[in-house]
Structure formats: structure tokens, C-alpha cells
Symmetry: C2
Amino acid sequence: MRYELFYWPGIQGRGEYVRLALEDAGADYLDVGRGAPDQELGVPALDIYLSGDATPRPPFAPPFLKAGDLVLSHTANILQFLAPRLELVPEDENQRYWAHGLQLTLMDFVAEIHDIHHPLSSALYYEEQRDEAVKRAALFREHRLPRFLEYFEQVLEQNPGGADMLVGDRHGYVDLSLFQTVTGLRYALPRAMRQAEDDLPKIGALVERVAARPRLRDYLDSDRRQPFNENGIFRHYPELDGEL
Amino acid sequence: MRYELFYWPGIQGRGEYVRLALEDAGADYLDVGRGAPDQELGVPALDIYLSGDATPRPPFAPPFLKAGDLVLSHTANILQFLAPRLELVPEDENQRYWAHGLQLTLMDFVAEIHDIHHPLSSALYYEEQRDEAVKRAALFREHRLPRFLEYFEQVLEQNPGGADMLVGDRHGYVDLSLFQTVTGLRYALPRAMRQAEDDLPKIGALVERVAARPRLRDYLDSDRRQPFNENGIFRHYPELDGEL
């Protein structure tokens, strides 16, 4: 099956979590949002779905995935659908609920990371909420960053299948998502992450392991991998990293 | 099966979304967090799981559910697990992915509703971030409140199974969650909701329909239903409702 991924072009965003799973599994997919409008791709192709014209069940926002007749939205929901098909989650049903709960925890973390540069509203520019962002970011670095990261370090430590992966005894999709989140945080908050990572050896090892997977390494080196930038979730503003 | 729901006592919070499904279905469940510590219930019973002592797979935060050996976290994940067992979602797999995507959209909405009174950090009191909250709430009322509500109105309008429910042609768990969210918003932002609801007849009808379901009405009238208050997600602060 050729999957169709719908996500805004120009940023990694939440779409990247889906891309990493597809790329790591070597799946056949079309990155609709990055295609050309004169080929019925690009942003207009997304808009047809978001408006409710293409389906009576319109997604609220990208990313969404088309798989045959099924259109489904939300990063964690898409990954839950794809993972068994891409062999990125154990067979056992209980393990799948556990994996999905971890993925939802990561998506909560991602939402909080986004809001450090947009504490008031996504309808305003960063520059219009910079003062509030500086306050929110300091509190995030103090409370939330260690809370989330230490949780995932503990999950790795306690995983009955081994500390190399989050779920079961094989590499899986939640590992890819943790990789993406930590990589993004290193870009956005290098100073805070240097301090935090001293106490997170298992997360560090997981990120190294994932980055060395052949298909993923090829993807990260290709121009299919868009760079981090200041339009996405993970933005590097030195003042939000405690450099004033 | 007797389900065990773990959630903080004293607030409806995200736990209420799970309670409504259990109550509407007449399921047997134990509300662990509201029990007495001398019966090994209450907050200490939650802490044993959150610390990682009770299971190698600790939840990050409440709510979480114990069903036999399975412990699973995150409101939408719990509801996805319960819904087939409580007959609150269609059999069809595609409809289940659609329902879960809608539920995740609602949970995103709930997170944004929470953050109007806590735009900087949950580690600070409301009074310490009141000025920022007034700004965030005004932008929320202008942009996000109509955006989310109009989306759900459209989903009802376009539902091939009928505008009385969000998914398929029968009452289901996402209807209960929309009911809870709208009811909470009417408590928190009565002024903004009076204006918004003029254009949301189908949501209004759904809320009325759900409230009239016999088991749910009994629950809402019982003391198992905790009142809304200013510790939960939906808080009524007049200054956040545009009354200055």
C-alpha cells in the first residue's frame, strides 16, 4: 500500500513523527504537502480535506494520513495505525496500549515545547509574546523538561525487555518519537539539554542507537529531511534557553 | 470485570471523561482516588503506580485505568480501550480510528481550555499569572473557542449516520466527551458561550440529548458527580470571560 501523508510543507512539525516511522520501515509513501500544486499536491491538496469537501469526516488539523479509503488524523493515532503494519510495535495488545500511552505522553510534551514560544496564542507572532515566552520557558526548563525526560529515562531503566528500547524487546515507533523529541530539544535548548543529559544516559544511548539505523541515517542525510527552523515546534531562541 | 479508575479526588478533571463512559454504560467500577487511604485507596494508591513501584510501566499522570492485569494511561487511550467493551463505539475499525481522532481533538481542546488560566506554568498559582491569563483567554475566546466548536458542529452536520451523534448512527463515547466539554465551558465562560452557541444548534441538541439519558441523569444528580470548581480544568473567573 502507498500511504499518503498530509502535512504542512516547510517545517518538520508533527508530520516528522509519522515520516520517521515510514522512513525507518522503508514504506512507500507520498508526502502530499511537499508536492507541487500543479500536480494536485501541496497546500491546496490539504485544504480540500480540511474544508470537509473531500470527506464527511474532515480532520481538524494536519498531520493526517490516507490509507486506501481510510483518512485518519492525529500523530499518535496515525502511528498506532501504522505501527503493526510497519512492524514497529509488539504483537501483544497490552503492549500496544502501553506504547500508545507513551506516545500520547510524548505528544503532550511536544505541545508544551511548542507553547514555550507561543504561551499566549498561535494567532500572534513570537515577537508579540516574547516577554511571556521568556517566563514560560524558564518555568518549563525548571519543572517540565526534567519531569518528562526523567520519566522516559525511568521507563527505559525499568523496561522488562531491556533499556535499549521503550516497549518490549525490539526497536519500535515510540523510540523513533523519543529520538525526534530529544533531537529537537537539543536544537532548541542546547544549554538546558547539556545540563539535563548528564543524568539521562539511557536516553542518550537510545538516540545514538536510533540515529545509526541504516534507513534512518540515509533519511536524515537526504534532502527529504527538512532542517529544524524557527517556524516549527523546536525553535532556537537563545533567550528561551536561559541566555539573556 | 470491575474496572479501577485512578484519578485525583476533589476535581472532575480528565477523569470525568472516563467516569461518564462508565456511568452511561452502567459499568462496575471503583473510583480509587476518591476512596479512603485506610482502605488502601485515595491519593496514596495513585502514588504507588506513579512512582513506578507497582508496575515497571508506570503512567506519567492520572487518569489511568486498571483492567485485570492491564494498566493504561491517557484519557483518549482509556476510552478507546473501554468503548468496545461498553458498546460506545461502532464495530467498524475505520469508524474507531475516526472516533479516536475526534477524541484526541477534544483532548487538545481541553488542554487549551486549561491553559487559559495557566498560560505560564502549572507550577504557579492562577493569581501569579493572572495578567497573562487575561491575555490568553481573550485570544482563546476570539480564535480557538469558535474554531473548535464550529469544527464539531460541522462534524455533526456532515455525519452520514445523522446529526444527533458524532460517529456512526448510535450514541457513543465521543458524544459524552463533547457533552462534558461544552458543559464545562458553559460553567467557565458563560458569557462567551452564550454568544457562541447561537450558531451551534446541533451541539446544543446533542448536549440536551446526552443529559436526558437515564443512567447519565441519575449520575449527574448523584453525589458521585463532583461539582465544577476553581481547582479543575473548567474554572469560572469572570475576568477570563471578558468581564473586566
